[in-house]
Amino acid sequence: MTAYGSQSAIIQMYRVAKRYGAKSALTDISLDIADNEFLFLSGPSGAGKTTLLKLLYLGETASEGQIIVDGLNLSRISRKRVPFLRRKFGIIFQDYKLIPTKNVYDNIALVVEAVGVERRSIKKMVNSLLRTVQMEDRSRAFPPSLSGGEQQRVAVARAIAGNPKIIVADEPTGSLDADSARVIMGLLKLYHRRGATVIIATHDTALIRQTGGRVILLNDGYLEVSTVIPKLRP
């Protein structure tokens, strides 16, 4: 099963496979993701969702096949160019991956600095991001003192800090209560409206139905279905 061949694709995967030793995590994946698409990767645990996301930002390298992200062929990219590829992405991890020894402000500022924003503008940008995720009052707090929802909001702010073209989120609401999950999804939709491509890996079918969008179903490393699910009316 493929979902491949679109002209306006920002991501193209062609016959991609990923193996860890003898074990196949992904097999023969061909897939196009259009610019400014809102896409869900779904499937049970161990289906290969996280692996597929990692392949996109070179968190892992493909064992076979071609991946092209915004014109960059990942099999030919040099080590030095990898940071430039990653700056196209805003990554939201299931376990947030915030730096525990840096406060909320510094966790976000890190990305702004890394992408080379002038020092004078950093403060303004970080404060604006903190306002967007409604975390202004917790800017000096350290991640371990924040709730899961707050940490994920900081993670979203960090993900959008570099103004990325693509946001990938791995189970962004997996460990959150319903209210926090709604806030996070609201932020992702907001950023999608501003032009970003959003890819969410989740096994939460309720979340998919509430949001709507194209769904890629993975099972045991194979792409099984690519379908569009309309948003459920409340």
């Binding site: 590829l85 990653r86 991956k97």
Partner: protein
């Protein structure tokens, strides 16, 4: 620059214990090495004073005529390594000998005839590291007409200078060992710091930070630690030197032995060495770490 420095200092504060250990080990190595260098510099200066005073005594044939003696003087003067020459007539030599004997000078009263020959006292351009230039000069003079014997205390000077050379080699060896040992230690400490920050570095890489963005602050931190270690080591040595100097001034004649601190160029070299230790330690551990 201020912002970068603030950032570096903030990161250093985050791993205070490991960074303090790095500074302490660098300071200790700098202290031990520079203490030995200080000892060597002072012994070397003392040796130079002695060697510079060394002279060749050229004893003349008793039957050498005045014309031969004068010609010999000119010939000695024309040797490039000779920096001075003094003719010592046998009478003056006897008087000098009598003066050296001091209260026992009367021993010479019983001697009917002056047994000392006329001589030339030759000063040679020589330092402790080039003392062996004196031998060829003495050999050249010894082969000249009118010369009976040449003497320049070759045995004691040779031994002394050999000891000095051994000290110099020991200093180089120690310097090399301390350098490698400290680099190894600093590299391992920095590796520990990197491991304690590996999650942070991994996250930085994932959010698109370039290797230089990650590396530069770590290099700056290592150079800073090396700098503090160098300043501390040299500072402690300077305090010890002042203590020692005060004690030596109280107990020894200052004209005989004057202790000097490390010359600026050696202190600068030791300081640069401590910076290099920081940089190299960082380079070794970072290279491995970022490739993993």
């Amino acid at each position: 620059m201020i912002y970068f420095t603030q950032k570096v200092l903030k990161d250093l504060k985050g791993n205070l214990f490991l960074n303090a250990v790095t500074v302490a080990s660098t300071a200790l190595s700098v202290l031990i090495f520079s203490a030995f260098a200080l000892f060597f510099v002072n012994v070397g200066a003392l040796a130079n004073r002695w060697v510079e005073d060394a002279r060749i005594m050229v004893y003349l044939n008793p039957d050498a005529e005045a014309e031969t003696i004068a010609r010999l003087g000119e010939a000695i003067k024309s040797i490039p390594d000779v920096r001075g020459l003094e003719f010592v007539p046998r009478e003056a030599a006897l008087q000098r000998f009598r003066a050296q004997l001091g209260s026992q000078g009367s021993l010479l009263d019983g001697i009917a005839e002056n047994p000392l020959p006329d001589a030339y006292e030759v000063l040679v351009k020589v330092r402790s590291w080039s003392w062996d230039r004196i031998g060829p000069v003495a050999g050249k003079i010894g082969a000249m007409d009118g010369v009976d014997e040449v003497e320049y205390g070759q045995e004691w000077m040779g031994r002394f200078v050999n000891i000095l050379n051994l000290l110099r080699l020991t200093l180089y060896g120690m310097g090399g060992l301390f350098f490698m040992g400290t680099v190894f230690f600093v590299a391992n400490t920095i590796r520990l710091v990197l491991y304690s920050r590996r999650e942070e570095i991994e996250i930085m890489r994932l959010v698109g930070a370039s290797e230089n963005f990650i590396k530069y602050p770590i290099y700056a931190q290592s150079l800073f630690l090396g700098m503090i270690g160098g300043i501390l080591g040299l500072g402690i040595l300077f305090q010890l030197y002042r203590l020692l100097e005060a004690n030596v001034a109280n107990t020894m004649s200052s004209s005989f032995f004057e202790i000097r601190f490390l010359p600026v160029e050696i202190a600068a070299a030791v300081f640069s060495g401590s910076l290099l230790v920081g940089w190299l330690g960082c380079y070794i551990s970072l290279r491995k770490f970022l490739r993993s």
